[in-house]
């Protein structure tokens, strides 16, 4: 039976009525109209649906709504805006680190948690953090560069 769940998404409280086992991804995309997390596989194998929950990057496609209730969730829409881009978003634009872009929002969210815990990650640390993120267009080189660039920008602004 559908129930009411309270969520905190991008700093705002909201309430959603749905079955408790509904994947968080569909709640974000269809109920909250936040399209930045994307469906890729539904079983946590590609990373396109990645959001941050209580500071940790998670797959929203295999996170049930009940498990997200009461947690603090950040999606790409809560990271930055065109007017005030997050350093990662600016770096991805500066490096043109996108081809189709379908995987990129999930990758940026995973990179955000990486930079939260590692100020200047090495290539190997970036690769490890993104090991479960697939990019089919082959933009890996630029993505690594963009994350290094964002790390520098964040460090410089400290």
């Amino acid at each position: 039976m559908p129930e009411n769940y309270s969520l905190n998404v991008n700093g705002k409280s909201c309430s959603v009525q749905a079955e408790g086992d509904t994947p968080l991804l569909y709640v974000l995309r269809n109920d909250l109209k936040l399209k930045g997390a994307r469906y890729g596989c539904g079983v946590g194998q590609c990373g396109a649906c990645t959001v941050i929950m209580d500071g940790k990057d998670i797959y929203s496609c295999d996170t049930p709504l009940w498990a997200a209730a009461g947690k603090s969730i950040v999606t790409i829409e809560g990271l930055g805006t065109r007017e005030q881009p997050h350093a990662l978003q600016q770096a991805f634009i500066d490096e043109q680190a996108v081809q189709c872009g379908y995987c990129i929002t999930g990758i940026i969210m995973a990179a955000k948690t990486l930079l939260d815990r590692t100020v200047h990650p090495t290539d190997a640390e970036i690769d490890a953090a993104l090991e479960r993120h697939l990019c089919r267009c082959g933009t890996h080189n630029r993505i690594r560069r963009a994350i290094h660039r964002a790390a520098q920008a964040l460090d410089a602004s400290r």
Binding site: P23, G36, G42, C46, Q99, Y102, T105, D127, R136, G138
Partner: protein
């Protein structure tokens, strides 16, 4: 002379879409609206086309707005495929814009009362002696509803300000900020969610289905059965997915096992009847008689999946009269053609809008899911329906790049020159796209109660070719024989995947070139240069060797090695040479790659580099890891776990260098690097450990077997 002489040929797609207003419009918001039939596939083409238009008309890039392609308003440019968009759409725009600029100059001179020579044009505004008028002021006096003459020459390369300089992708900010960008993100008022239940294999027919239980599930709006086509529509997405699973459970299929199974696939294909065509036959008995050493080898490439990160998706709305469809199709007009047959409504009552999708590397499920959505929209009318394929449907039903076998033999004379070359290629056709033949190629077409016959796949003719793309070597050999053996029996659903047969043919040619060089102790780079006459080909090979610091005769150290691959894509497109460095660890890893590329006149250098980098990484994934799995029943690789692709830790560091040739026509960049990459990796493996592996992918098991 007849008064009804044929119309003169116009450049690019202008030839088939001849009216200027089909392409260009000065919009009320002081932008130039550019309508093109080519679509964004993740390759950045719309940015390159905007650069071309802005340059010819002396506009800023942000004054150009590319209008999303739609069958209602866009020129029909067929498919966005074959790396032809800059050649076809770009050429059309160059000439159309040059002509419009000339018309505007006349109008401006008239309006401002000066001669054309006195006018200065900047950012869309004509200036003369303190007076000014913009394109938009003059729009009413510039008659665009006229046929292009093709007689106004575009600017000389030296006069171009935007073309040739890197421009940031215009579609990229929306994607980086997570704004709705893809067909998957469309949200129309009242929209509901559809899912399809496919047959359990290609040949299955439905013997019974329990639809009643599914109709009673929460949120279910409709259960559709039309012959063997089954689908559900529900209010919420998760409800549609649940209903899909329930419906699938209640189906009984009559499902004969019709596949040869992956273990026997090459034997099966080689046993099929073929249509053989000799595509090159150079005879020089004298040269042949000098043969000293002859090598023979068979190379194999499995079925490869497109494996886009976002599974195919479409939105459709049916108002009782008209269908409106949003699709990430590569060809909205050809798709509409198939829709006419399957929906049995005339073309005027079907509108297809292009919307970006996840990365497109050829003919994927975009067209198929568009028909699925239209069929379900009829049941949910007037509410729009979004159909999102699940990951396992994408892997199971997308058309794959065909498996291929290449048998090569070649002879060297005592000086180490190739005196004879033979290449036989066995392959299915490489195109099963919509919009041709009497029937349809869409998955659901033959499943309908009133089935639409299946149009057989086709293999595009030379010179571009398809299964035989790049089978004729660019190397200059005195005696050569190249034959294509086309297998029309298609056990798996196949169609166009990036580079088509060019990937496997170049992998085979470049491997054989390396085997020949090794057999006579020649350096692989020098050996290639010795057999090439085309200076542009030599230039990319020399540049790549220089970038990599290639040393003549360099040898691997038993675990690490380097190899080279080269091709001129389609033998008429871009030139690309790739050097790969590999290391044999648990499996084979490509550590680095260097590429030199000549695409003629470069429109957006960073865009070309991005395409080549991506092409190399993707082809590395094909070469090391990828093969579609299947048994005698159906495709068995249905999740990423069963079809692994290259991960971040495995992606090589890539360096690309462009050789710009402003006076040469622009060629596409999307498919030039794949074949050279496959060849370079196999050759690097040989260089590293002295063992040749001729069957893709180059897995740990296959390398171990070859080592023996």
């Amino acid at each position: 002379m007849s008064a009804t002489a044929e119309k003169p040929a116009l450049p690019g797609s202008l030839n088939t879409n001849r009216s200027l207003d089909r392409w260009l419009r000065f919009e009320a918001d002081a932008t130039l609206g550019v309508r093109v039939g080519k679509v964004e596939l993740g390759q950045g083409i719309l940015t390159a086309l905007a650069q071309i238009a802005a340059d010819e008309l002396d506009l800023r890039l942000d004054q150009v707005r590319i209008v999303t392609a739609s069958t209602e308003a866009s020129p029909n440019e067929g498919m966005t495929s074959g790396s032809r968009s800059v050649e076809e759409s770009g050429e059309a725009l160059r000439y159309a814009c040059a002509e419009v600029r000339a018309l505007a100059l006349e109008a401006a001179a008239h309006r401002l009362g000066v001669s054309i020579e006195k006018l200065q044009l900047a950012e869309g505004v004509f200036h003369a002696g303190g007076k000014q008028a913009s394109y938009w002021d003059l729009a009413a006096e510039i008659d665009l509803a006229r046929e292009a003459s093709g007689r106004v020459s575009p600017k000389q390369a030296s006069d171009l300000a935007l073309v040739g300089r890197s421009a940031a992708r215009i579609d990229l900010p929306a994607k980086v900020f997570g704004e709705p960008s893809y067909v998957q993100d469309i949200d129309l008022p009242g929209m509901v969610h559809g899912r399809v239940v496919r047959p359990v294999n290609y040949a299955a027919t439905l013997s019974s289905v329990d639809a009643e239980a599914v109709r009673a599930l929460p949120g279910v709006i409709a259960v559709v059965r039309d012959g063997n086509f089954l689908g559900v529509v529900a209010e919420r997405e998760e409800q549609a997915i649940r209903a899909q699973a329930a419906l699938a459970k209640g189906c009984r299929w009559d499902a004969p096992r019709g596949l040869p199974g992956e273990a026997k696939i090459y034997d099966y294909l080689l046993g099929c009847p073929v249509e053989t065509a000799v595509i090159s036959d150079k005879r020089d008995a004298d040269a042949k008689s000098r043969a000293d050493v002859t090598l023979q080898a068979t190379y194999r490439k499995p079925y490869i999946a497109h494996a886009s990160i976002g599974p195919s998706c479409a939105v459709a709305r049916y108002d009782g009269d008209r269908f409106e469809i949003w699709s990430h199709s590569q060809g909205i007009f050809p798709l509409r053609g198939d829709m006419v047959k399957c929906l049995r409504v005339p073309a005027e009552r079907i509108v297809v809008h292009h919307t970006d999708g996840s990365g497109c590397y050829g003919h994927n499920g975009a067209d198929d899911v568009a028909l699925d959505a239209a069929l379900l929209a009829r049941a949910a009318s007037p509410r729009p329906v979004k159909v999102q394929w699940m990951r396992e449907e994408e892997f199971g039903w997308e058309p794959f790049g065909p498996a291929m076998v290449m048998k090569l033999s070649a002879s060297l004379d005592r000086s180490g020159a190739v005196v004879d070359w033979n290449h036989d290629v066995w392959s299915n056709p490489h195109s099963n796209r919509s919009g041709r033949g009497a029937g349809s190629t869409l998955i659901a077409a033959p499943h309908l109660a009133a089935p639409v016959p299946v149009s057989p796949p086709v293999d595009m003719p030379l010179p571009a070719g398809a299964s035989h793309r790049n089978a004729i070597p660019l190397y200059d050999f005195p005696s050569e024989h190249v034959a294509r053996h086309l297998i029309t029996d298609t056990p798996l659903r196949i169609s166009a995947l990036r580079a088509l047969g060019g990937f496997a043919n170049v992998f085979a040619i470049e491997s054989m070139m390396d085997e020949l060089a090794a057999s006579c102790g020649a350096d692989p780079v020098a050996f290639r240069l010795r057999h090439l006459k085309d200076p542009r080909a030599c230039a990319v090979i020399e540049r790549a060797a220089q970038m990599a610091g290639w040393k003549a005769g360099e040898k691997g150290d038993g675990t690490r090695g380097r190899g080279i691959g080269f091709c001129k894509y389609k033998n008429l497109g871009s030139y690309c040479a790739v050097i790969a460095e590999v290391v044999l660890e648990q499996g084979l890893r490509v550590v680095r790659a260097w590429a030199a590329v000549d695409v003629g006149r470069v429109v957006n250098p960073d865009g070309v580099v991005n395409q080549i980098e991506g092409g190399i990484v993707q082809a590395t994934s094909w070469t090391l890891k990828e093969a579609v799995r299947f048994d005698t029943d159906f495709v068995t690789s249905r999740q990423w776990a069963d079809y692994p692709i290259l991960t971040f830790g495995e992606a090589p560091h890539v360096q690309v260098s462009l050789i710009d040739r402003p006076e040469e026509p622009s060629k596409g960049a999307g498919e030039g690097a794949q074949g050279p990459t496959g060849g370079a990796i196999a050759n690097a493996l040989f260089n590293a450990i002295g063992v040749r592996v001729r069957e893709l992918p180059l897995t740990r098991e296959r390398i171990a077997t070859a080592i023996g």
